[in-house]
């Protein structure tokens, strides 16, 4: 398939963007991931780089929000998942499910 490669961390970030529907930007994504992953060390810079890469690959789109009174009046960049992003996630999930089903003795823990 001609699809772009998606790394593990990028996949997680992409999923989080989908979860946060409309309120996804750097800090919230980092906080969400941190909370869900038992305080695994999540660096803001890593999240941002993943986001920009996802954007370059066309899995997310972004737009600048309005000026806020918090954070010194600096604007936020909000990310939304694209249709391509959604389809890619779904495909990946399907591949995984099929692999799970193919395990001969699924009851191992």
């Amino acid at each position: 398939m001609g699809r772009s490669y998606l790394g593990e961390f990028e996949e997680l970030v992409l999923l989080t963007v989908a979860v946060l529907e409309g309120t996804a930007y750097g800090v919230t994504i980092a906080a969400e991931l941190k909370q869900r992953m038992n305080n695994r060390l999540i660096s803001l810079s890593g999240v941002h780089i993943a986001l920009y890469r996802l954007e370059e690959k066309g899995f997310v789109v972004s737009e600048l929000g309005g000026a806020t009174s918090e954070r010194g009046g600096r604007r936020k960049r909000f990310f939304r998942i694209t249709a391509l992003g959604k389809r890619t996630l779904a495909e990946m999930r399907q591949v995984r499910n099929e692999l799970w089903d193919a395990i001969p003795n699924p009851s191992f823990s």
Binding site: A31, L44, S45, G46, E70, R71, R77
Partner: protein, 885 residues
């Protein structure tokens, strides 16, 4: 929000984040900080912020920023594309003109190598003794007197033993240590049946602390026991191997018995203790050597040196002030009267003077090696300057070729600062390459240089100072050599250059000419200097020494077992034909160990000083060394009265000012009132420095038993090696305990020239290199000018100019420059060399032919260098040179 993240971190973020992302990213960062500040406290949040910012320094962001900037900015000084272009152009230029590049890089590398070697040498000289921790606190005690008759001021380095005791007892609050120091000397160390000859010295206890010797075995108290001695690590290794030397017995010169009580780390070669391999306790020497014991309380026998270390809080000035009037305050009463008359004072000569200021003037240290440190530093700077001048000259000479490039660059938007950067960058590139070549040259020649300069210098690659200085050196050279071309080239006006109307005027080559003159002035001064140094050495070597030193061998009979075998040995050697003559004396022919004062003679001015060098010898001495009797006769066994006779040298005869010295008397003013009759006057024997006037000397007979030096005149019909083997066999048979040590008198004499010869060789080397570098530059310049005038030469040839004409045309300019530099160099060289030569009492005159020879030499070399290019250019077929374009 009062709790703000550190502003400097924000500034940092701004520097490397892509500008279009800066706002949102900083916003996120701040938001997270505010959140964390609430959660875990401001202090911790600050730290988290710091790490977060550090994590933002990622190649991704940097790359993005770089890409964005280069995409949009119009003129960016450090844009990678331009820098790449500069290097490309620089390399292409280097490769296109291989000849120039070679001259540039190699000439510069040679100049830098010379400067580097000189720098290392100077560093080594200046760091002499600096390894000792108490460097600033150690000094040697000197006395200073003024002769009342002629107001001559003299210093004395040897002091009587009781002075050390008084200094220690009455000045204890000023000095931490006061140590008597015996003269160092080569000693035979015997362990079992093995003999080792090592240089060593006896100090009073305290030496380990004073010189902060690092004890590898034994403790700092190793010399508390008078019988103890400490060995240097290298000596311990070569004598005892891997065996533990502590407690081993060593016999010194077959008469002293010491026990090794410690091993210390070898002192560096460039220190007072360099070459010293064992240290004994002075107390032991005093207890076992009769004459040392005898002078323990004798204020009139000044035969030891005294080293002191001032207390920690006492400066050298304070200590000096305190001991100044020692003679008036603390010397025995009999000294106080003469001390006033002679204005006698004591002073402390600090360690920093010992090596660099070892020559005294008016009784105080004045000069010494420091002259050479200065001299060579100046030479080093000048040689480097010569190499830099080459670079400048060649770059500006080629500027016309590159003028078009400058014009185009300016036309497409280069600003001046960019061009300056470009040319400075090129100069950095060339200097960098030269630096690498230089390291190769220095690395390859350092061993040879060490041998020449008698040093043990390593290239201290790991020393941060060395690296720092090298870097500074590189930068300065690059700036120095690149500065002028950079600013000169970048100032061209593009319109004129591109239109082709630029004429670099009459004066464009003026700076170039001045630089060539400077180069040749320096070179010619160095050539003249070298010739004068060699001439002076030659002159001193040809000085009549007053005796025949060929096939004369000396044996120093330190072993007490010699005492009864001396005459037997002499007898044996004479009988089996090894020697034609053998004589004994108390000191070698090539040095003076004894100076006596207190003599009287007829018509002596009561105030006149009466110090004479006194040599004691036997009747055969005169015939053995073949001194030349001018008046009177030699000692002879036929005259029973000769024990009360004296032979004087011509200097002494002149000083005594007796109308007919033969038959007159010299009397001692001491207690015994001895009287000697003068029976002969001999020609002066040059015993000490061949550059100084010969001291007034007296020669007296003495019982052979107490004369420690044997002089053997080897039978000239016998090969030297065979004779030595026979002498050794005889000595081994008669005195088996003593190692066979012999000295050739002519070798010992020639040692007096080593330091001058060394300087001569170094000066020669530097002069050669200087002239080579200058010629290299001239060669490049000549070839460039020949190339530039190709068309002119072609036209001249067509119109009928001969090759000689053209050769003259091209060479004239350079010859003129060299002639001008000759006129500048000659008086400068004369001034400096005349000053140098005045240092020696026995010196040559600087004659005019030296200047003529140096000038002719420089001219010939110049002509050869230039002619090669000139003739090459003149031989080119004009059809070829005029066809192009």
């Amino acid at each position: 929000m009062q709790n703000k993240p550190p502003a400097w971190l924000d500034a940092l973020v701004k520097r490397f984040l892509p500008s279009e992302l800066y706002e949102e990213l900083l916003g996120d960062l701040h938001e997270q900080f505010a959140f964390q500040a609430e959660e875990i406290g401001v202090q911790k949040a600050r730290w988290m912020y710091f790490f977060e910012v550090i994590r933002f320094c990622r190649p991704y962001f940097l790359k993005r920023r770089f890409r964005a900037d280069s995409k949009y900015s119009t003129s960016y000084t450090y844009s990678p594309a331009m820098i790449r272009n500069y290097f490309k152009i620089a390399f292409r230029n280097l490769l296109k003109h291989k000849g120039y590049s070679f001259i540039n890089i190699f000439g510069l590398a040679t100049g830098m190598a010379v400067a580097m070697l000189i720098g290392l040498w100077v560093w080594d000289e200046l760091s002499f003794n600096k390894n000792f921790k108490n460097y600033d606190h150690i000094a040697q005690v000197y006395n200073h007197v003024t002769e009342p008759l002629d107001q001559k001021q003299v210093e004395g380095s040897s002091q009587p033993q009781p002075m050390a005791k008084v200094l220690r007892e009455k000045y204890g609050h000023i000095f931490k240590h006061v140590l008597l120091v015996h003269w160092d000397g080569e000693t035979t160390l015997s362990v079992g049946n093995e003999n080792h000859i090592r240089k060593g010295q006896f100090f009073e206890n305290g030496v380990i602390d004073m010189f902060s010797l690092k004890m590898l075995k034994g403790s700092k108290e190793s010399l508390n026991d008078p019988q103890g001695m400490i060995l240097s690590e290298s000596a311990a290794k070569s004598i005892f191997g891997d065996k533990d030397p502590i407690g081993e017995a060593i016999k010194l010169d077959n008469k002293f018995y010491c026990k090794v009580s410690g091993v210390y780390e070898d002192a560096p070669q460039n220190s007072t203790l360099g070459g010293i391999h064992f240290i004994g306790n002075f107390e032991y020497l005093r207890n076992n050597e009769k004459w040392v014991k005898g002078s323990e309380e004798n204020w009139n026998n000044s035969s030891q040196r005294i080293f002191i270390q001032t207390a920690d809080k006492v400066t050298m000035e304070q200590a000096n002030a305190a001991v100044r009037d020692f003679y008036l305050k603390d010397a025995p009463d009999s000294f106080k009267e003469p001390a006033k008359k002679y204005k006698a004072t004591l002073y402390l000569n600090p360690m920093k003077n010992w090596y660099l200021y070892s020559e005294f003037k008016d009784g105080y240290p004045a000069t010494g090696r420091i002259t050479f440190v200065w001299l060579f530093s100046i030479v080093g700077v000048f040689v480097l300057l010569l190499a830099c001048i080459n670079f400048m000259n060649l770059s500006t000479a080629r500027s016309e070729k590159r003028a078009k490039e400058v014009g185009i660059r300016k036309a497409v938007g280069s600003v001046k600062s960019q061009l300056v950067n470009q040319f400075l960058g090129e100069s950095f590139l060339v200097v960098g390459l030269a630096f690498i070549v230089m390291l190769g040259i220095v690395g390859a020649s350092i061993g040879w240089f060490n041998e020449l300069a008698d040093k043990k210098i390593n290239i201290p690659f790991t020393n941060p100072y060395f690296l720092g200085i090298s870097f500074a050196f590189l930068t300065i050279t690059a700036l120095l050599s690149g500065f002028y071309p950079a600013f000169y080239l970048s100032s061209f006006e593009p319109v004129k250059v591109l239109k082709g109307t630029i004429r670099l005027g009459k004066y464009a080559s003026l700076p170039r000419k001045v630089l060539v003159i400077v180069q040749f002035t320096v070179s010619v001064v160095l050539i003249i200097g070298t010739i004068v140094v060699y001439q002076q050495i030659q002159y001193a070597q040809n000085r009549p020494v007053g005796y025949d030193r060929s096939s004369l061998v000396r044996i120093s009979m330190d072993d007490p077992n010699f005492e009864n075998s001396k005459l037997v040995m002499k007898d044996n050697l004479l009988r089996n034909g090894v020697a034609t003559n053998i004589a004994f004396s108390n000191m070698p022919v090539t040095s003076i160990w004894d100076n006596w004062g207190g003599f009287d003679w007829k018509g002596k001015n009561p105030e006149a000083q009466s110090y004479f060098s006194v040599t004691q010898l036997d009747e055969d001495f005169g015939n053995t060394i073949q001194w030349k009797v001018k008046q009177g006769r030699n000692f002879s066994k036929e005259f029973g009265m000769d024990t009360a006779a004296v032979i004087i040298n011509e200097s002494a005869a002149k000083y005594l000012a007796l109308k007919n010295p033969i038959g007159e008397y010299i009397t001692s003013t001491g207690d015994n009132k001895r009287r000697w009759q003068i029976i002969g006057v001999i020609e002066d024997l040059v015993a000490e420095s061949p550059y100084e006037p010969v001291k007034m000397g007296l020669y007296m007979l003495r019982n052979v038993r107490s004369l420690g030096q044997m002089q053997i005149k080897i039978n000239p019909n016998l090969p030297i090696s065979e004779a030595l083997a026979k002498i050794e066999a005889t000595q081994k048979k008669l005195v088996p305990s003593a190692p066979f040590r012999y000295f050739f008198v002519d070798e010992e004499y020639s040692k007096k020239f080593t330091s001058e010869q060394r300087i001569g060789k170094l000066a020669f080397l530097f002069a050669i290199l200087a002239i080579a570098i200058s010629c290299l530059g001239l060669f490049g310049l000549a070839s460039f000018i020949a190339e530039q005038r190709t068309k002119e030469i072609g036209i001249r040839k067509v119109l009928g100019a001969s090759i000689t004409n053209l050769w003259g045309l091209l060479s004239k300019e350079f010859v003129l420059l060299v002639v001008i530099s000759l006129f500048i160099a000659s008086p400068v060289a004369y001034y400096f060399m005349n000053n140098w030569i005045q240092k020696y009492s026995y010196h040559t005159a600087i004659s005019w032919w030296i200047f003529v020879a140096a000038g002719a030499g420089a001219l010939i070399i110049t002509l050869l260098t230039v002619s090669f290019q000139a003739i090459k250019a003149a031989l080119v077929n004009p059809v070829k040179s005029l066809k192009s374009e």
